[in-house]
Symmetry: C2
Subunit: 173 residues, 2 copies
Amino acid sequence: MSDQSLVSDFKQAMQELAASVNVITSQHDGSRNGLTATAVCSLSMEPVSMLVCIHKDVQALAEIRASGYFCINVLSTDQQSVSDVFAGSTGARGEQRFLEAGNWTSSQSGAPMLDDALASVVCELEEINTSGTHSICIGHVREVRLNRGSSPLIYARQQYGTLTELPETEKAA
Amino acid sequence: MSDQSLVSDFKQAMQELAASVNVITSQHDGSRNGLTATAVCSLSMEPVSMLVCIHKDVQALAEIRASGYFCINVLSTDQQSVSDVFAGSTGARGEQRFLEAGNWTSSQSGAPMLDDALASVVCELEEINTSGTHSICIGHVREVRLNRGSSPLIYARQQYGTLTELPETEKAA
């Protein structure tokens, strides 16, 4: 497999990997930063921790490093516009993104929590490991807020979707 | 927030984090191993790499370390029984899991690829970093096989589901 076709096939494979859409936020010296991310995992149960993969050169990563905290906001289907703004589709950056989309409150750590997110998980930064183009931010969970009523916003195959329970017939397969 | 309620809230938050269901496989000294995992991310584009979080004490992790390769098989809705078997629900272990569910072929590295998985991505193990209860396996992508026809099998809220495209009205929200 040539390098070029490997990369092309890898990109297509990653489009098949469905995931919740999250907005990762931080606050440092009174300035708020955030970006949309799908590469987010539960990591450890003891201590409770999560990880998020962020491009190593983005400003949001520098802000997370400086503040020592980040908040993972798990979006609902009602928050597609928040995802778009924090993915940069409107051209807004930094504080402007928070003004354009969503209602935000400050966590104890300062990291912004999105009102009506399915879950907001505030993590204290434990370490950042860079591997290739991206950095893995590992954080210990310090604060959790839940709003579990709505449906999850999922991204796959280059489009937004939501979760539908499988019918019982398929479950039995 | 007490430690106990933090852990309980964290568990509930993680139920809201929807993700594709994958079976991670390896082969070492002629013996095949595999387990079901949802904590799987695309990591880097240059080099192309992925990560998967696996409990640090499971046999499958030892086998990945020994073989130096692992394959991430992204499941379709038709492969719920494969997910169940590799999650341990039938009590099968090691080679027996491969006999109970799915049709498997060997990748060039030896790591088993699941026929009709939406994607199978073979990675060469780059490093393993342990954090708390889990280890992060980082691998460089060496081989990709695609079968993109079916719907992705997704796990969230303690049940299986699949992806439904959002209606245009919600998209405009």
